[in-house]
Amino acid sequence: MDFEIKPLDPERAASTSHDSTHRQHMRAALEMAEQALASDEVPVGCVFVHNGEIIGKGMNDTNRSLNGTRHAEFMAINSILRKHQPSIFSESDLYVTVEPCIMCASALRQFGIRAVYFGCSNDRFGGTGGVLSIHSDTGVDKPFPAYGGLFREEAIMLLRRFYVQENEKAPEPKSKKDRQLKTEVPPLP
């Protein structure tokens, strides 16, 4: 699979491209997204990495929990805080298959996350460039860098596989029999 990191901050391009550990961590995040898909959750997964080691994993849990704020990042943070103090995030990086939403981007910034790597952009709720730029706006907490495009196609395909399914919980489920899974992913602009 051919991919490259599309850095949002060009200055950091040299230090982030073609780094196999980034790929390794994002693969772990994609595995979490696969698990989410298998549990009828919107397939978003993430891992937090501290000193090269995964300290927490999370997948979207909004449907099971009936809580619209249980995004993958929050699930992982919850498990991390069972063992660690919040200060660990200032030395940790997040790998998440879809760009963090505005809520998660603000949470990550308040926790002092060191850096965020994501797969595909989120043009509906994205908080690191998709809709707003919570990671870099003027604010009281330290900004963090966010890099998108790592395994972008895989992240998009996971979402598409979810959205061709029928939502049985919807009041009037739409028939999606005629829906076809598209496999072409347009390149980034």
Partner: protein, 436 residues
Amino acid sequence: MGSWPNTQCQHQPDRLTDGLLESSTPSGCLIPLHTKAEVQNNVQIIQTYVATIHAKSANTVLKIVDDACRGLESINLNHLRRLVKPEYLPVYLQKDENKEQSRILGRIAVDSAGSTDVEVASPLAECNGQPSILHFLACATSVISRENLQSLLSSALPCSVNGLRPCIRVIKVPSTPPASHDQAEQFSQQYWPTVYKGGNPFGPHPSIFAHATEEIQHDAKDHMVLAMHAGLATSFEAKGEPIGAVIVDRSCSKGPIIVVVAGDARWNNVTKPQDRKSGNVMAHAVMRAIGMVAKKRLSLTNASQAPEMNGEQLNSFNDEPLNPLESDIYTRDVLAPGGYLCLDLELYLTHEPCLMCSMAILHSRFGRVVFGQRLPRTGGLTANIVGNHDSSTENLSSRPSYSLWWYPKLNWKLLAWEWVERDPPQASLSEQDIQA
């Protein structure tokens, strides 16, 4: 303080809030928030053609031009008058109008390109010396070219037989509808006669806001007091900051029902660092309150029992009650089954929520939110900074204003109010960097 009412008065929400009201009764009022677009009020200006036409041909001309523009780039001009009598033109155009009259009466006129034309006497001037003309706002200049418009008009105007080319001018008009009668009046003087159609292009319709304000203003104070006590309760035990949240269900005909209360718990099970940084951000009062609603709903789907409380298992979400005040409300079976997230629920907060909590409010589909103290350095709901010359906001003048409660690009919108107390408390968080 920390004196929440005794827990014996379970299932009697009125007595609960009454008890709180006795201890402190701030009075205040609800101020609807403004959206970012309302505050900026950034009027988009475009260029449009205005043609002088014979009144009798007005309907024909209007139809021909609108037909020609249909399907092309759509620019909504519904708030602008399309046909205007000369006396209703804005003053700045009436000056041009005098030249135009001269031109129509067969004198020498200078057109906008600067070339001089000699026109023949126009049939427009034949009506008892009172030329019956109208000014026609044709379309945006981006839609069709001047030449195309010229030939469209010529095909419709009776005067074209005499070789008179209809005069076309380009003027600036607001492409965004006015937000009020006052603004329509201002547009009418500054640009072109404009109509206010009662809506609000930059935010919720004023009547929706007025109706909702009417509905909540009688008990908003009670919920604000309860929120304050929820914040005091957790901060009293050093579990969090004195920030509180109350969620209310107004869908029941019996009146508002308190669903959950939650205080901030960012320091619960967290070693407070010297610099008092952020603590457990997930335990902000709003996040906890949302989590408690979800757990209550979950218990409705699993079995008809009170939501389980398992305080022993370390749960960093802190979405279980932490004190008698919270558990008293939490254990009440008040939510109807089948509800979705926090749809149609109301949220009362002691402080303006941070960006995380503001977006969580949207994700949870709340219908209304009321908050007490503005937090201009961290809040996610207000659009404008109060007191621009305030030293506390000076170094954050470049901080964007978000007004997430009504943000056009996002897929959820709600109503938001600021609760302004008549006698604000001495101690204030607003000049700190705290995220509520």
